[in-house]
């Protein structure tokens, strides 16, 4: 089951692929004797962080763009979207803002578009906070924050002057959800209980559930 490949932006493709030379050299004409005995080759002769990452030591081969101030705003908005409650930790406890930062900084076309929306939106949010309350968003009281969030959480109903904020909120919420639920600390609350080994045959669906769903004739 295949997925569509994403494309690198031209600007960063060069940066990204530097080191994995695509130059076409004409091979030398020397033919060596076929009788060599050498050391075993290292498992990873010229290991690329992009094409052949070391899972034990992941590398992020790009710079992150958000400044500390922007990250603060991002964290506090993310915690409003995904707060600590009975269904799991707060967004800031599972690195959602860091994930968003990593995501919008990645040298991949689609992410670069998103980067403009997110950074512009974070600034919009702070400007709006100042306009209303003369403080940055993360310094507002919860009631003040909610007042703004309620104005931008529905792009189909938002006022024209909040439209930019509403588009930003949509994107920011989507990314927050992605970052939040890809952290294993949130899985219990979500209802994902896999990634553990089970001995013996695969247990399948419990009988009560089969009955409840009316699947007896196919189970």
């Amino acid at each position: 089951m295949s997925q569509k490949p994403t494309s690198l932006s031209r600007r960063d493709a060069l940066k990204w692929f530097a080191g994995s030379s695509a130059a076409s050299a004409i091979a030398p004409a020397i033919i060596a004797a076929p009788n060599e005995t050498e050391q075993a080759p290292p498992s990873f002769p010229t290991r690329s962080a992009i094409y052949d990452p070391n899972f034990a030591k992941p590398v992020y081969p790009w710079e992150k763009v958000l400044a500390t101030e922007e990250l603060k705003t991002a964290n506090s908005l993310a915690d409003i979207i995904l707060p600590k409650d009975a269904l799991g930790p707060a967004a800031s406890e599972v690195g959602v803002a860091d994930f968003i930062n990593e995501w919008i900084s990645a040298p991949i076309d689609k992410h670069e578009e998103e980067s403009e929306i997110i950074r512009g939106g974070l600034s919009w949010l702070n400007t709006e906070s100042f306009r209303r309350f003369e403080k940055r968003f993360e310094e507002l009281t919860p009631e003040q924050q909610i007042q703004i969030v309620d104005d931008i959480c529905d792009a189909t109903k938002s006022k024209p002057e909040h439209h930019i904020g509403a588009i930003f909120f949509q994107h920011f919420r989507s990314l927050s959800i992605s970052g939040y639920y890809t952290h294993s600390a949130t899985w219990k609350g979500l209802g994902y209980v896999g990634n553990i080994s089970i001995a013996g045959p695969y247990p399948g669906v419990p009988d009560e559930l089969i009955k409840k769903l009316g699947l007896e004739d196919v189970a």
């Binding site: 076409s24 060596a32 076929p34 075993a40 995904l82 009975a86």
Partner: protein, 593 residues
């Protein structure tokens, strides 16, 4: 256990095998178990699944939470090394006027694409070998189902395949004692089965190369290698050491406990245990070398670590570099003939086929808010639909069939797993959003078709006269055009999937065949570029993968397939490689090679 100990070669081998994937791995094992001195040459790096597989790694341990990137198009943890739709420094091109660029998936690692394949292992059926006689399209195989079925039995016993006999026409059963039991279906799969009953689509246990229980090494080794005590000893031990699936972790990452089939976990370790196999990795074969008598004397490769050119010699050469690479090597071996080696028929590079693919999925309300249940299962499909309208092609308007792969439910969350909230719960935040996440997570199901394409003159590969790769080797240039058969088949798939989805309570809008069909190459079942046949004038090899023009040159991968039945090709590549390796040893014994 390191898979390779030394980078050593001897002056002369019995057999050189180029490529270490499905075909190369199988040939190496069978030949080495029978005392042949074998050199395997692999373009990619050494790869050790037992220590390298990120079995339980979670997304937060990876950049971008494990999401796909241009360097890892199927996600960070996918077991593809230095590959994907592009291999750095090794481009390919598409010819002007082609209809939709061909996408070519490669990996550069020991074991090739068997490290991350879907493990779906379906037998071709009796009709598939006689396809042209049935509908006048394409060509027949130079063998029948009866010729290959004992080899399917052997391969299934050797690698371990779960499944069931469903008695459906042209989807052959296996003899008793061959298959392992299939895992039970998950919730969505049961719902699909129920929908299939209503709509007349049979949904039965899938067949995948995954162990659902421990292997009976002693019994199997005895049956598989009756007159070969050394082979019995090695295989009995090795099979018994493989663990069965523990129902967690995605098979696409590979399997460190050796529960599923990879050349690097199932074929290469016992082959090395014979002491008869040497392996050189990071060695890119440029061409086959031909002696004055017209026979292959060895291969010319580039040692990638030193960029030195090297020649290795053997009595027999087997190319198993994958369909397109194998024909590329032939086309680049021009010592005697400008058209390329073993190409007196002119068929090398022609008849390129992929599977027809398209998919459709939907949110399924009945799957919402179910009690938590571990649905990881066997890391791939548990059920599928074999083609069920074999006798109705006259009515359908397209000549060949497809099978359906399907899945859904609560898998390990990925970056896109909760995209459903963008439409189902677009304006919520706070605890309400989290409740909705729990409600909608995994409440979706999708179907993907894999259909047979008919070879046509517009789908081929050739050398690009203007481009070489970083090793100075001329690259492939592809050309492609679907025929109406494929387009109509894709449309039929869409309509079938929409019906099943509606029956499950979802909503789906089927697309037209043109819009729905996936890209050429995208299904990664490319085969056919050096097809086997009855006659030297029309094909590149005989039914034993032996080239007509060069008696000691064999092609043991998908390149030899004369047609591309809807059943994914790898099981057949394995069966042909085993059968042809036995033939090859027989011919050597008789002094014919």
């Amino acid at each position: 256990m390191p898979l390779i100990t030394d980078r050593k070669t001897k002056p002369q081998y019995d057999v050189i095998i180029v490529g270490s994937g499905a075909g190369g791995g199988m040939a190496a094992l069978i030949l080495a178990l029978n005392g042949m001195k074998v050199l395997m040459i692999e373009a990619g790096r050494n790869y050790e699944p037992q220590v390298e597989t990120p079995m339980f790694n979670t997304p937060e341990m990876a950049p971008l939470r494990g999401n796909k990137t241009p360097g890892k198009p199927f996600g960070y943890y996918d077991a593809t090394v230095d590959g994907g739709w592009q291999v750095p420094g090794e481009p390919y091109t598409n010819k002007e006027g082609t209809e939709g660029a061909f996408w070519w998936w490669r990996s550069r690692m020991l074991g090739g694409r068997t490290n991350h394949w879907g493990r779906i292992s379906l037998r071709f059926g009796p009709h598939d070998f006689r396809c042209a006689s049935r509908d006048g399209l394409g060509v027949n195989w130079p063998m029948s189902y009866d010729d290959i079925s004992p080899w399917y039995d052997r391969v299934e016993m050797l690698i371990g395949v779960y499944g069931e006999n469903s008695g459906i026409e042209n989807a052959p059963d296996s003899p008793p004692g061959v298959l392992q039991p299939a895992p039970k279906p998950r919730i969505g799969e049961l719902m699909a089965k129920k929908a299939g009953k209503k709509t007349g689509v049979p949904i039965v246990a899938a067949r995948r190369a995954v162990l659902s229980q421990p292997m009976q090494g002693q019994r199997l080794a005895k049956e598989l290698f009756p007159n070969n005590p050394k082979a019995q000893e090695i295989m009995a031990l090795d099979m018994s050491l493989r663990a069965p699936c523990f129902w967690a972790t995605d098979c696409g990452r590979g399997c460190s406990i050796r529960a599923n089939f990879q050349s690097t976990t199932v074929l290469i370790p016992p082959a090395l245990a014979t002491g008869n196999l040497d392996i050189i990795t990071d060695a890119m074969v440029r061409e086959v070398i031909i002696g004055p008598d017209g026979k292959a004397t060895g291969v010319h490769y580039i040692d990638k670590t030193t960029r030195r050119d090297v020649v290795a010699k053997a009595r027999v050469v087997i190319l198993a570099a994958s369909t397109c690479e194998t024909s590329r090597i032939l086309l680049n071996s021009k010592a005697r003939d400008k058209a390329g080696l073993a190409n007196s028929s002119g068929q090398v590079g022609k008849n390129l086929m992929d599977s027809v693919g398209t998919s459709l999925g939907s949110h399924i309300p009945a799957m919402e808010n179910l009690p938590p249940l571990n649905e990881d299962g066997a890391g791939g499909i548990h059920v599928y639909s074999p083609w069920w309208l074999v006798s109705q092609h006259a009515k359908l308007g397209f000549a060949r069939g497809y099978h359906i792969e399907m899945g859904g439910g609560r898998r390990m969350p990925t970056v896109a797993s909760l995209a459903v909230l963008d439409s189902k719960s677009p304006t919520t935040y706070g605890s309400k959003l989290k409740e909705d996440a729990r409600r909608y997570y995994g409440a979706s199901f999708g179907f993907a078709g894999r259909g047979e394409m008919i070879p046509n003159k517009d789908c081929y590969s050739e050398l690009d006269p203007n481009v070489v790769d970083q090793w100075g080797i001329p690259v492939l240039r592809f050309h492609w055009k679907w025929s109406d058969h494929e387009i109509k088949q894709a449309e039929h798939m869409q309509n079938t999937f929409a019906e099943l989805i509606e029956e499950m309570g979802g909503k789906a809008t089927p697309k037209s065949g043109r819009d729905a069909i996936q890209r050429p190459g995208e299904i990664i079942h490319e085969v056919g570029t050096a097809r086997m046949g009855e006659k030297a004038s029309e094909s590149v090899t005989n039914q034993f993968c032996q080239t007509w023009d060069v008696k000691n040159l064999f092609l043991m991968d998908g390149s030899v397939l004369p047609s591309n039945p809807d059943k994914n090709p790898t099981l057949t590549i394995l069966a042909l490689a085993w059968r042809s390796s036995e033939y090859l040893m027989d011919e050597m014994k008789k002094g014919n090679i």
